[in-house]
């Protein structure tokens, strides 16, 4: 869900004319900009915000302001607000990130932060990001984001935090490095001189030095206390009596003073302050609605309160929105709680109604939930869910609202119940989702259409109710696929298509993609291809490019299984064109490059393959789908196999296996089988055999699309073993298995598999000495593979294949193609591993940077190319210099060349 940015949170509260100037503190903040972080950490009422706004007004550096509230604990929302705040001083910053934040699925946070910091690093001027009231956030994720920012921020940026408790940041480390400036309670307290200036000059009192000292001592320089005391004195008849009783009392300072201040206000002002204290933000019209008091204009009262210095903080320049100082607001709310004559729930309901009328549904829901007016809240939550469901995906906020409703509220609300089902599905709560979908379904049954039953039904969004059968069917298809129930997925998916109109792109797109995955899993490749194409089409129409592109991988994989290598390349290239025409980096671009790299490897265009894989790796962290790394490791492993670097290939496959998690996307080439293939190439037949044994694979195993590759690998193990030891053992069984595999693949038009199986059949007959049949088999494979440009599928089979191809060439079988394949056996492609004659070898990343340096790129260009902060590049450079024992770039390049590292 895209975040609606409230401008009031970005508004720097103006520095009031009446404040005490505090040059000793302002100077410290200015000096602190040498470091990374300024922390203003003190209890409520110590003038933290006032100090910082005073510093901003003094105006040495542009400052971006963000007033935090509890809702900002959501990382995506927090980030959206940080960017919006930065844009108030640097409008060009972060436009790309904003659009990324609005496009589901949200990209990984770290890549967004890196991208943001890189943009800041290019700014011509410095800026300070002020996070006000950081203590309201209670989120480890936000703490981690902040730690990342502090660690990586470019020199242009400085962070200033005001808070009531120290944030969970590595403060000790920052302190030790002199990168932290702290202003704490002891610094912020008014000194006796400041107290005198405040009371007598700013608040216009005429107190004796003794009185000032007495007040300063009683409040211990606590500014909120002194301000309330001053207001009390302003409205009191007898100053010395007030001071005497205040300083003589043991009462909690604020409790005492707020009582005093309120008691001196006219009744309608007291009433106003108490009742409006329930609001996080206040404006005249909203207060009118909450108070229902025709006798007084809220706008006038607000003006009066502002002039009386009663802790009212403006949130805009128009004097429209305000809030109470949080501390004062708390004290007012405590008093409201005790005002027995006031119906607080009724106030919340009025606020909820006003917000609803002004299209601020989230706030409306908030107040309805506090008032425990669950019916009202349920209606609004239903409308909000239905509104966002048709255009985007669910948010955690909706989950929280729905969880706040009693279970009984869902019973007779079919739309809301289905909505809860969907939201729960998105957060992986399968069982609870099922319960709520069942409840919604009850209301669609024929017996639920009887008049007396219908009268119990509650629906806030009639259109959503009309669409309910399709909404539920889509959820059911999703649920079934998550449970691995293919027939049910297909049944429900078809139902969605039957029930929705052609313009309901969201439901249709989702259903089509689910149907595509289901047909793919059950090996109906052509149907799967058609559904995924439809799903992609619908998502494009909806404008959701990332989700449209996520179908690409299925489409390309299917074409590959069908032996249509060129089509698969075309699919990736088209998708890449769409992705690159977007104004921002689309999630999944890294996966497109990886797919292209892998297919070029198959065609033995290793240079292009390397280039694409390199691009994929560079972009992976920031623009890869969630399982990008898993698939990248597999593609990279195949590349390492080509160059004979089996150790690295195995390492990559092990990493892929560690990171792998099951998704509804079929996985026809399991990682363990790929590893067995590496063992075969290495000659570690025993290991490969024990894998097959553990997997329970046998020559009689039933064949399905999903275990086909494992069975092909089993055959390959035995053929290779036979080639090695020439012991005629289970040859007939292998031949029969390959025959069955061949028939199954041919029947389902999996021509990619037919090529691979024919090659193995050829090898088997060849080693048995049956050359004519072997070449017939090989010819079948060559005939299918030539037009598509396959190379590695032959070459990776090893030296027996080279011999067979030579024989084929002698017999004049497809001479151009066989010549090309034989040439690919040249060992030239097997690059020796670079050995580093260094005490401390350079890391992959350092080698990468060194190559870019050698290519003549500046640090700035390298940071942009690799999507890392400029400072990170500089850090790498230092390490490189140190390891090579040189002092500058040119020397580093020369030394690296000398050592054969680049």
């Amino acid at each position: 869900m895209s975040t609606q940015i409230l401008a009031t949170k970005l508004y720097t509260p103006p520095s009031r004319p009446g404040i005490v100037l505090r040059p000793r503190l302002i100077d410290r903040i200015n000096a602190g900009h040498q470091g990374k972080l300024t922390l203003v950490s003190a209890p409520a009422g110590f003038g933290k915000t006032t100090l910082v706004t005073g510093w901003i007004t003094a105006g040495e550096r542009p400052a971006a302001w963000l007033s935090l509230d509890e809702g900002d604990s959501d990382p995506m929302r927090f980030l959206a607000y940080v960017v919006a705040a930065l844009q108030t001083v640097a409008p060009q910053i972060g436009t790309r990130i904003m659009s990324l934040l609005e496009s589901p699925p949200p990209p990984p946070i770290e890549s967004l932060l890196t991208s943001l910091l890189n943009e800041i690093a290019t700014m011509p001027h410095d800026l300070t990001l002020v996070l006000d009231d950081y203590h309201v956030l209670d989120s480890q994720q936000i703490d981690e984001i902040l730690a990342f920012l502090v660690d990586n921020q470019p020199p242009q940026m400085h962070l200033l935090i005001t808070t009531r408790e120290d944030p969970r940041l590595p403060l000790a480390r920052l302190r030790a490095r002199g990168q932290l400036t702290e202003l704490r309670a002891a610094d912020l307290r008014f000194t006796p001189d400041e107290a005198a200036e405040f009371l007598n000059h700013r608040m216009g009192l005429t107190l004796s030095p003794e009185d000032v000292v007495a007040l300063e001592a009683r409040t211990e320089g606590w500014i909120a206390g002194l301000q309330l005391a001053a207001i009390s004195i302003q409205t009191s008849d007898d100053t010395s009596r007030f001071i005497q009783s205040f300083t003589g009392s043991h009462h909690f300072v604020l409790d005492y003073l707020v009582e005093e201040v309120l008691n001196h206000q006219p009744p309608h002002i007291q009433d106003f302050l108490l009742k409006t204290s329930i609001l996080d933000r206040i404006c005249g019209a909203l207060c009118d609605a909450v108070l229902h008091d025709a006798g007084h204009s809220s706008q006038h009262i607000l003006e009066y309160i502002r002039q009386a210095n009663l802790f009212l903080i403006p949130l805009d320049n128009e004097r429209q929105w305000y809030r109470y100082h949080h501390l004062f607001g708390d004290l007012l709310r405590k008093r409201l709680q005790q005002a027995a004559h006031v119906d607080v729930n009724e106030l919340h309901i009025r606020a909820s109604q006003w917000y609803e009328q002004h299209n601020l549904r989230s706030e409306g829901i908030h107040h309805a939930l506090i008032a425990e007016d669950f019916g009202r809240a349920a209606d609004m939550i239903e409308l909000e869910w239905a509104y966002t469901h048709s255009t985007s995906f669910q948010s955690r906020g909706q989950l929280v609202w729905m969880q706040a409703l009693p279970e009984s509220m869902f019973r007779n609300r079919p739309v809301l119940s289905a909505g809860y089902g969907w939201v729960l599905l998105d957060f992986g709560e399968i069982d609870a989702a099922d319960t709520h979908l069942c409840n919604a379904e009850r209301w669609l049954a024929p017996e639920a259409q009887a008049d007396d039953v219908v009268s119990e039904r509650i629906v806030a969004d009639d259109v959503a109710f009309q669409h309910l059968p399709a909404t539920i069917a889509a959820a059911r298809a999703y649920l079934a696929l998550a449970m691995g129930d293919i027939p049910s997925t297909i049944k429900h998916g078809q139902r969605v298509l039957a029930l929705t109109s052609a313009t309901d792109h969201h439901q249709r797109g989702m259903a089509s993609s689910l149907l595509g995955l289901a047909h793919w899993s059950s090996s109906d490749l052509e149907a799967a291809f058609q559904f995924m194409t439809d799903g992609m089409e619908s998502m494009y129409r909806l404008g959701n490019v990332p989700f449209a592109l996520s179908n690409t991988f299925g489409l390309a994989d299917i074409r590959l299984a069908q032996g249509r290598l060129l089509d698969a390349i075309g699919i990736y290239k088209n998708a890449l064109q769409v992705a690159e025409s977007q104004p921002f980096t689309v999630q999944g671009v890294a996966d497109l490059f990886m797919g292209l790299g892998d297919l070029h490897r198959e065609q033995n265009d290793l240079e292009m393959a390397r280039e694409y894989l390199q691009k994929s790796e560079t972009l992976g962290k920031q623009a890869g789908l969630p399982d990008w790394r898993v698939r990248f490791c597999q593609a990279q492993a195949r590349m390492k196999q080509v160059t004979g670097d089996f150790a690295s290939a195995l390492e990559l496959l092990n990493e892929a296996e560690r990171l792998y998690y099951a998704t509804p996307v079929p996985n026809p080439r399991p990682i363990a089988a790929a590893r067995a293939c590496v063992w075969i190439e290495q000659g570690q037949i025993d290991k490969a055999l024990s894998w097959a044994h553990e997997r329970g694979l046998s020559f009689n195993s039933e064949i399905s699309y999903l275990n086909e590759f494992e069975l092909i690998t089993l055959a390959r193990i035995h053929i290779t073993q036979y080639e090695h030891n020439r012991v005629q053992q289970s040859v007939d069984e292998v031949a029969s298995l390959l025959g069955r595999l061949h028939d199954a693949a041919e029947t389902n038009q999996r021509m990619g598999s037919v090529i691979e199986i024919s090659i193995l059949q050829a090898r088997l007959y060849w080693v048995q000495g049956d050359r004519d049949i072997a070449l017939t088999m090989l010819q079948r494979a060559l005939q299918l593979a030539e037009p598509e440009g396959y190379v590695r599928v032959f070459v990776d089979e090893g030296m027996s294949m080279k011999a067979m191809l030579s024989e084929a060439l002698t017999r004049g079988i497809r001479p151009a193609y066989t010549q090309k394949l034989i040439a690919a056996f040249q060992p030239a492609h097997r690059q020796p591993l670079v050995s580093q004659p260094l005490i401390e070898p350079l890391s992959e990343r350092e080698l990468e940077i060194l190559r870019l340096v050698a290519d003549g790129l500046s640090n700035q260009e390298i940071s942009q190319y690799l999507f890392i902060a400029l400072n990170t590049v500089k850090g790498h450079n230092r390490n490189i210099y140190q390891k090579l024992q040189v002092n500058r770039r040119t020397e580093a390049v020369a030394r690296a060349r000398e050592l054969g590292l680049i």
Partner: protein
């Protein structure tokens, strides 16, 4: 120490929180049911039954948000 006297990690606990300054009884509701005892030395003792550690931290946060100086927190025997 016998087992019966060792409260489990999730047992309801009784804490005494001492803060500086006197508070009236009417703060009872604000803190969600604590007993309030003003003491002669100008401090106030809040005695509260809390469900667990999280509830205790919630109470301390409320005290923090009012800017009340915290003097001590003690767990006491039921």
């Amino acid at each position: 120490m016998s087992e019966a006297r060792t409260p489990g990690p999730d047992q309801p606990l009784i804490y005494q929180v001492r803060i500086k300054g006197h508070l009236d009884d009417d703060w009872n509701d604000w803190f969600g049911g604590v007993s309030i005892t003003p003491e002669a030395d100008g401090t106030t003792l809040l005695t509260c039954h809390v469900a667990d550690q999280a509830a205790l931290h919630g109470l301390l946060r409320q005290i923090r948000d009012l800017g009340m100086p915290l003097i001590s927190v003690n767990q006491i025997e039921p």
